[in-house]
Amino acid sequence: MKKLINRPEDVVREELEGIALAHSDRVKVSLDPYYVMRKDAPVRGKVAVVSGGGSGHEPMHGGFVGRGMLDAACPGEVFTSPTPDQILAATKAVSGGAGVLHIVKNYTGDILNFEMAAELAKEDGIQVEAVVTNDDVAVQDSLYTAGRRGVGITVLAEKVCGAAAEAGRPLGEVAALCSKVNASGRSMGMALTSCTVPAAGKPTFELGEDEMEIGIGIHGEPGRERRRLATADEIVEVLASTIVDDLPFKSGDRVLAFVNGMGGTPLIELYVVYRALDRFLRGRGIAIERNLVGSYITSLEMAGTSITLLRLDDELLGLWDAPVNTPGLRWGA
């Protein structure tokens, strides 16, 4: 294992110390328990938006804390959900009296820990609504699985909900917007390489030089199927057609196209992917109104990409364009 770390057990704490030093203008960091919060939180009378999940997906979620996006983020250990005491402490720290929205990705661990935290917060008199994201079309959704994973749409939901909260919308509306973004978006990812959890010391799975894994999540877990390596255009065709057919996105739809890097893929390749995606969507009569290209929800050093499409309307467009000032996303501010 070659990593720029000191000791595996210190990675998360030292990362948080680094974030605190680098971004003290916008965020405050608690090291016991771990969470990142907006410097000016709690904001009186504003709905607070809290998310969290395992570490290793940076900049999600800690990098999205700041004006116009998250009020707090709770990082767990690498690829491990945060614990209820952590989520509770963050929820209390940012609660401004107008309620708190928990944005939770659909993983069994995240759900269980956020559920326990919400129960505890309610006992403390804080109104909590939780919305679960589950946009990954690679997973069959059925009563007999844990359901679809929450992936790329989470980033977009955090931006939209943060903007709505900033605009003074009440908790019920911010939560409904989160559900709307989740229901209007779909994602799918693929990997060219595996990744190594620092504490494990070796790659989670092995992939041959001429192989790729289609339908991966964001935790180095194997995907749905292994295939022979293909060109960027062919890969985009597989991912985009599965996404478009699932919602389904239709001719005439306006979308936000999010091409995400898994952590180890250079921007030069992501733009090759974006080019193919643009061509594909034009062919289907779907108009890209906004885009986001870069590594925003990652899986450590995994090479690969995920594509997320979000169907836009004027309301979502306005909230997407609203000012945001976080270490990971910044415009208009």
């Binding site: 250990e77 491990t80 614990t83 690679a138 959890v197």
Partner: protein, 212 residues
């Protein structure tokens, strides 16, 4: 004759040792169908449990298990934290006020813990989860108690049922947790949660049988 507080402490210590010794094994099983952290997380949790247990002074079995539960919930994360936390929390409630545990009482406490885990994780038997090791173990313990088996005999039957339940998860299709994302690719792999649950039953047997 039943087991008391010292045996319960040995059980907790023994489980911590077993998890530490099988840290890589559990993590490897999880890498095959999950996200490669089960051994790492359980080991971190049980390491955090030990000093809290050493600091206890009032020799209360229920309090001991509650301490274990709270430490696991606040350090493990993932699904295992709340689920193993739930196991120990339910053991604590079931054994409230008890200073000695008989085979029948242990069987009922284990079965109550399985029910609590099923409620929290929404898992059914056969979903390829820890329930598949714990439920047969609880049932074997109850059956042994009903047949008037000795404590050590009953515990051995419980552990053996957990082992068989764990091995029976290999061909199963995962329906809960991260392994369910793999669909048919989850078949042919032993469930890591069922494996750590077998270690739990084994630790209880070793500590409780030795105490008698």
């Amino acid at each position: 004759m039943g087991v008391g507080y010292p045996e319960c402490v040995s059980f907790v210590r023994g489980f911590a040792e077993a998890v530490a010794a099988n840290r890589e094994y559990l993590t490897q099983l999880d890498a095959e169908i999950g996200d490669a952290d089960h051994g790492i997380n359980m080991d971190r949790g049980m390491r955090a449990v030990l000093p809290k247990v050493e600091a206890l002074t009032d020799q209360d079995i229920s309090g001991l298990f509650r301490t274990v539960a709270m430490a696991l919930i606040s350090t493990v994360g993932g699904a295992s934290g709340p689920l193993y936390g739930t196991v120990f929390l339910q053991l604590s409630s079931s054994l409230k006020g008890e200073s000695e545990i008989e085979l029948s009482g242990w069987a009922e406490a284990v079965l109550a813990a399985v029910s609590a885990v099923r409620a929290r994780g929404k898992a059914e038997p056969g979903d390829k989860t820890m329930v598949d090791a714990l439920l047969p173990a609880g049932e074997a313990l109850r059956e042994a108690a009903a047949e008037g088996a000795t404590l050590s005999e009953g515990l051995a039957r419980g552990t053996e049922a957990a082992r068989q339940g764990m091995e029976a998860t290999i061909p199963l299709l995962a329906r809960r947790g991260r392994a369910s994302y793999l669909g048919e690719r989850s078949q042919g792999h032993q469930d890591p949660g069922a494996t750590s649950s077998w270690l739990l039953m084994q630790a209880a047997e070793a500590a409780f049988a030795k105490g008698n």
